[in-house]
Subunit: 150 residues, 2 copies
Amino acid sequence: MKISTRGEYGVRAMFDLALHYGQGPIPLKMIAERQEISEPYLEQLMGALRKAGLVSSVRGAQGGYLLANPPHKTTIGDIIRTLEGPIAPMECVEPGEESTCNQYKLCATRVLWTKLRDSMEEVLDNTTLEMLCHEAMRLKAQDDSFMYHI
Amino acid sequence: MKISTRGEYGVRAMFDLALHYGQGPIPLKMIAERQEISEPYLEQLMGALRKAGLVSSVRGAQGGYLLANPPHKTTIGDIIRTLEGPIAPMECVEPGEESTCNQYKLCATRVLWTKLRDSMEEVLDNTTLEMLCHEAMRLKAQDDSFMYHI
DNA sequence: TTTAATCCCGAGTATTTCCGTCGGTTTTCT
DNA sequence: AGAAAACCGACGGAAATACTCGGGATTAAA
């Protein structure tokens, strides 16, 4: 019931790009260093995110990656689905999987998994990168004020 | 982001026991057959559920397993935690894991994972075996009435 | 009292998924 | 030209998953 490193790193990388939105292309190396992610591994993930249209890239020297859309347009759900596949606690509640289970009409547990899936999607689809940025600023301010009082 | 077969089979087995609650011990073989689960594998899972106090067992001929508590007392969360460990999309939001991440106070994504965890727990801890039984009856009735109209 | 049903337990194995590495190619700025 | 970067596909090791297996202990029933 865990999100894999693909999802985790993907979110962190996208969050990093969001924090630097509007500053031109950010080289992979920078993201990897700041987020402490293996560079060649992150490269794979960025490739997937680019193919999904979530980031765009600039090749050659001084190139790098940037968000394809402003931070409030990309949700965590977009990122997770791209890197981990459908958000679903069980195969039988993935989109377009209605008929695989032979007795899906009578399956009581399926109702449960559907509820669980919906509650997960509710959170992930309603959290944008912009919201994470705001949250980060809030935490930073809190921390600064704490330091001040010492 | 999937529940493993341990959790899935565990829920199905417990649901099976709930449907037969009050009918004395149910042999593993019955549960395995009805739920189409490998018998020796399910045995492992039942052992864990017994140690966790969710089922009790009767040894010897005519023995079997039964719910340790009435169906409305056992939640899906209880079962999943027993068989899969803490309900958490990331290690850093497992109970008692506050200090492992060196900069947890400043982590914006951690707030997100916490929200996700809470929404998952909300569903799983508020669904009981009894509710699944009622759901099953509802689906059955619906199906019967559909048959009747043909 | 024997037999058969059933739970109990721990070790072993096969498969898959995950996580990451590596080498080379192409593009573009300076 | 040279260096900085993105792009690409294949490969490999480690860990988790999903079982299997063999034997032992307990108890009801014949």
